[in-house]
């Protein structure tokens, strides 16, 4: 809190690593809310970004608790409005639209019911369907702001039902005056969405990125485009649709096209201020780079623009017809497209905007079919805007199946700082936090910013409730490692199996294992089956496996939890970087031990990764190995953190690879794990590991009451105010910040 306060005072950015399950969210919320109350002019808004919908809900729950506490202590209604925002899919209450499963379909159908031209048509002709909820909101909702309080997604829906207002647009509208907004990363980082949703958030806001250990990847994904052959074929179809619509419109209603044309000639961006419902297509380029200029003459008329699009698509098709992998820079691409099909850079830059304008003019209400074309237009705009930090890779086939032709064009962003830069520039304080951010100095480098505070916190614990160990060899003294050279070695696989069997015999309830990849998981499980290890394992616990299929995995998870709850005990085999490793918590008996088999390096042969590593090396002087190790260790730490969700929880963390004990890997673990990783536990064999486990579990199984924690990890108000404690806190605060 002290560090956060300093950062807020300094109006600078900060990077905080806080162990999971220690009340990270509550801490952030309570301090920032208190700060907002104390300095209402310096800090007007809190934007809290989380990753998934359940996480957003969790934050809202914490906020509600905090507000209730305020009310109880201060005895009056608090004048603070907090709300969660999600996509239309999660907020729609229209009886038929909300039944749709896919987000894109919901967006498209919503657009077809609420776009301004549809509503204009409805005014003339009652048969045109519109959304009554949006109409209700439009008629009354704007004058009456949401009363103060805390609204999660369900509350918004309920409120919407009651008033017959559309909750989605209500939430979007309310963002401008809400004190606390909770939503997903993409609403700020993805320029396509940020432009629409987060444009009006003032500078005096504080932005919190929670669970931000993957933030660089989110940034990169938001600026990258992937084009396949199928997508291009769909594009051709959409272009034909555009052509016919244009010719129809020319015959029936040529005025509208003329109007658009005139507007473009005048160089007015959007003469009619775009209504919120009409913003279905947007520019993928960051706000600072958008041109304030008229659309070039080559693509001014609708027919010319469609012909232009056709040329672009055909050109990309020819590029996809390669026989070998091609990698080139945006500059090379631009030159080639100029010589082959005579397309200049400037009209290319306007593609996304021109397409949006055309679709608006044509009053096409069903947008779902056009998404491939939109993707291509984004690509065209991005490639002509950014010449640095991007690369184009064309692969004629996948590496795993070189005979099957499946050409893909990757337009890949290499520099994660491009997407996040506007966020850092725009807001006075950006807080990046997670349970696993170590090594901390990597993030400022790859995101290219200067934090004023950069801290890793540890836990104050009444008992040593985590037990990290590095197991480097089996009972037969063969080194355990997932190194590429030894991963097929039966001795290594057998040793991994024995380790799991022996740990499963000693540890009660649930055990979670992480492998480096799905492929590795499958090969290991199949050879365990041959070696009879699976049978041995099933004598102790039930076995569940995570697969790439999300439905299958969630079924496995449900049954895993069931098996743990009724005391049978279970083992879950999953994959680092998979769904289980990100965002699913195994608290208390669900995860008494985590085993990490091997170091989860990324697939290093991927060309996109290679290109990114090269870029990092050239631009930021980060060596390839440093980045790979950093990436592997943050994922390993993320997996280990799954079993530790609070102070009363306890769990074993086994790192089963010889390479973990090297200084460069060990030092990259979060501080709160390193603190408990003693030197004596760094080079164990299976047998020693089990011995230590047993002793430790006996100690942990003793009754643990509130009184034990009092004075150490739990403080009463008197204790907190006592001089001795104050001194201690002061000391720690100073020690920690450097």
């Amino acid at each position: 809190m002290l560090e956060l306060k300093r950062a807020l005072d300094a109006k600078g950015h900060c990077l905080l690593e806080m162990p999971s399950g220690t009340g990270k969210t509550t801490t952030l919320l309570s301090l920032i809310v208190a700060y907002m109350k104390a300095h209402p002019l310096d800090l007007t808004k809190l934007v809290y970004c989380s990753r998934t919908v359940p996480e957003i809900e969790k934050v809202m729950e914490e906020l509600r608790k905090l507000m209730n506490y305020y009310e109880k202590e201060m005895g009056m209604e608090q004048n603070i409005l907090g709300l969660a925002l999600s996509s239309r899919k999660n907020l729609c209450i229209h009886p038929s639209v909300s039944k749709e499963r896919e987000g894109k379909v919901v967006d498209g159908r919503c657009y077809s019911l609420t776009a301004s031209f549809v509503r204009a048509r409805h005014a003339a002709d009652d048969a045109t369907p519109i959304c009554e909820f949006y109409e209700g909101f439009d008629a009354h909702g704007k004058e009456f702001p949401l009363p103060p309080g805390v609204y999660n997604l369900d509350d918004l829906k309920e409120y919407g039902q009651m008033k017959r207002w559309c909750p989605y647009f209500l939430a979007r509208h309310t963002i401008t005056h809400a004190n606390i907004v909770v939503y997903s990363y993409h609403y700020l980082l993805d320029p396509k969405i940020a432009e629409v949703v987060s444009k009006e958030i003032s500078k005096t806001s504080v932005v919190v990125f929670d669970e931000a250990h993957n933030i660089d990847n989110v940034c990169i994904d938001s600026m990258s485009v992937k084009i396949t052959k199928r997508l291009l074929d769909k594009c051709s179809n959409s272009i034909t649709i555009l052509e016919t619509t244009i010719s129809n419109m020319k015959e029936n209603d040529s005025k509208r096209l003329e109007k658009e044309y005139k507007r473009l000639v005048e160089g007015l961006r959007d003469a009619t201020i775009a209504r919120e419902t009409d913003m279905a297509l947007v520019n993928p380029v960051l706000p600072s780079e958008i041109l304030e200029e008229a659309v070039p003459g080559t693509i001014r008329t609708a027919e010319h623009f469609v012909a232009f699009l056709k040329r672009v698509v055909e050109y990309i098709k020819t590029r996809l017809r390669v026989q070998h992998v091609v990698q080139e820079s945006p500059a090379g691409f631009l030159r080639d497209i100029h010589t082959k099909v005579c397309i200049d850079r400037k009209p290319l830059r306007f593609t996304a905007e021109r397409l949006a304008s055309l679709i608006r003019t044509l009053e096409i209400s069903d947008l779902t079919d056009f998404s491939p074309l939109v993707t291509v237009s984004h690509f065209a705009t991005l490639v002509s805007t950014y010449t640095k930090g991007f690369t184009i890779i064309i692969e004629p086939f996948e590496d795993r199946a070189p005979t099957v032709s499946n050409p893909i064009l990757y337009f890949s962003c290499l520099d994660s700082s491009i997407a996040i830069k506007p966020v850092f520039n725009r807001f006075q304080t950006v807080v990046i936090t997670s349970g696993t951010l170590s090594p901390l100095d990597m993030y400022p480098k790859i995101l290219d910013f200067h934090p004023v505070i950069m801290t890793s916190f540890t836990m104050t614990l009444a008992r040593p409730c985590i037990l990290p160990m590095i197991v480097s060899k089996g009972n037969d003294q063969v080194a355990m490692s997932s190194r590429y050279e030894t991963r097929e070695d039966t001795a290594v696989i057998r040793n991994y199996g024995n380790l799991l069997v022996e740990v499963a015999a000693a540890v009660p309830d649930g055990i979670v294992c992480f492998f480096t990849s799905y492929l590795y998981l499958e090969t290991i499980v199949s050879s365990w089956y041959d070696q009879g290890i699976i049978d041995q394992l099933q004598r102790h616990k039930l076995l569940f496996i995570e697969t790439q299929d999300a439905a299958e995995t969630s079924l496995a998870l449900i049954n895993y939890i069931k098996a743990c709850d009724n005391g049978r005990g279970a083992v879950l085999l999953s994959v680092a970087r998979g769904k289980v490793s990100e965002g699913i918590d195994f608290d208390h008996h669900l995860g008494r031990a985590v085993l990490m088999f091997g170091i989860p390096y990324v697939y290093t042969q991927s060309r996109i990764l290679r290109a990114r590593l090269e870029y990092l090396r050239d631009q930021f002087q980060i060596r390839e190995n440093d980045f790979l190790t950093f990436d592997a260790m943050r994922h390993a730490a993320q997996c280990l953190g799954r079993c530790m969700r609070g102070k009363t929880d306890y769990g074993i963390m086994v790192l089963a690879d010889k390479r973990f004990s090297r200084a460069d890997k060990r030092s990259k673990l979060p501080k709160w794990i390193q603190e408990h990783l003693k030197d004596t536990n760094c080079n164990l064999s299976t047998e020693e590991c089990v011995q230590i486990c047993k002793r430790w579990l006996r100690q942990m199984a003793q009754p643990f009451s509130r009184e034990d924690q009092l004075g150490i990890s739990l403080l009463t108000l008197e204790q907190l105010q006592s001089e001795e404690m104050q001194k201690k806190i002061q000391q720690r605060a100073q020690g920690v910040s450097f």
Binding site: L291, S329, R335, V341, K388, D448, Q619, Q734
Partner: protein, 344 residues
């Protein structure tokens, strides 16, 4: 790939004859290579679809999936050779855009055979009117092209530089390793020292070398990244320069914390009255008051008065014989005296 491509004349598909190559001519209709040879054996003939007269020499391999695009690109290239005015040739952007649209319309008309007589007339007119500019522009690269060229060149230069750097670094490393090993063997052969200690010192030396090595490799390249501009004038390529100035946050784990201690002045005299009290003690009676212009700059008479008093009183107790401590004692005792004096 493209298995469904069919020759409209003989109905051969790419699937049945993988060697088939489709050709297009000025009319934009495709024919396979063998049909072209058959139909145009004399060197000229009519297109089997649109009956327009064609020459065999003008057949080219079809590049795009849609032959119409091939035709369009063909026409476009021809037209753009003539219509090659640049933005610099127009007084305003608006006029340039109008010109671009006109060109686009001409191409569009030619491709879809709309109003061919008028269009051709327009082209001829333009050719006549703008002969000079066309000729001039042919030899001149547009600003945009130049920018792209520049970028590509910089990229190339950077790449070769990098490659050299890494190759050199690697060679160097190898050389050094080799040297170190030779040295070790030499020492083991000729030196009288204990073999163990020699090996140990060698290990240390290599470790030290290994530490130095990465720094060499990680040095930023000397290639200066040119900052270029978008057509709007938005700067790009600044990032490269910026990153050179990037300051990693220093790790301060070992440094002791900075503590503020108030500086001690050796004043050696009775302390002057504080600046706030000068007015009350009636010191201003004897000096000129500050006028309006002086006050505007932040000057007040109190400042000079205070300064004068400090100068007058400082060093009064100084005597070379006394040690520092006694001097301080003396000042302490004398302060009380002066205080008393002033109050009385």
């Amino acid at each position: 790939m493209d298995d469904y491509q069919t020759c409209p004349k003989c109905k051969t598909t790419k699937y049945r004859n993988p060697a088939m190559v489709l050709m297009v001519n000025a009319c934009g209709h495709a024919l396979c290579e063998s049909c072209v040879e058959l139909l145009f054996a004399k060197g000229s003939g009519a297109c089997p679809e649109c009956k327009c007269p064609l020459r065999r020499n003008n057949f080219r391999v079809q590049l795009f999936e849609d032959p119409a695009v091939d035709k369009e690109v063909d026409i476009r290239k021809r037209i753009l050779k003539e219509f090659n005015k640049r933005q610099e040739d127009f007084p305003t952007l608006r006029e340039y855009n109008d010109y671009l649209e006109e060109v686009e319309t001409i191409i569009f008309n030619l491709v879809f055979d709309i109003d061919p007589t008028n269009t051709n007339k327009m082209i001829d007119n333009y050719k006549k009117e703008n002969k000079d500019i066309t000729q001039k522009n042919r030899n001149r690269q547009s600003q945009e092209e130049m920018e792209l060229e520049e970028l590509l060149e910089a990229e190339k230069a950077q790449q070769s530089e990098k490659a050299n750097l890494y190759v050199n670094a690697e060679l160097e490393e190898k050389k050094q390793k080799h040297k170190a090993r030779e040295k070790l063997i030499d020492e083991l052969m000729f030196s009288d020292a204990d073999a163990k200690s020699i090996v140990a010192s060698h290990v240390q030396a290599t470790a030290a070398l290994a530490k130095e090595q990465p720094k060499v490799a990680a040095q930023p390249s000397s290639v200066v990244v040119k900052s270029s501009k978008f057509s709007s004038g938005v700067q790009i390529g600044l990032r490269g320069q910026h990153t050179n100035a990037f300051l990693p946050i220093p790790k301060q784990e070992d440094l002791p914390l900075y503590r503020y201690t108030a500086p001690v002045f050796d004043y050696d005299g009775p302390p002057p009255p504080p600046i706030e009290k000068l007015g009350k003690l009636n010191y201003f009676a004897n000096i000129r008051a500050a006028n309006i212009t002086e006050r505007a700059g932040g000057y007040t008479e109190a400042m000079s008065c205070c300064r004068a008093l400090q100068e007058a009183l400082g060093g009064l107790f100084y005597s070379p014989q006394l040690t520092h401590k006694t001097a301080v004692l003396a000042t302490n005792s004398s302060t009380q005296d002066t205080d008393d004096m002033e109050t009385t």
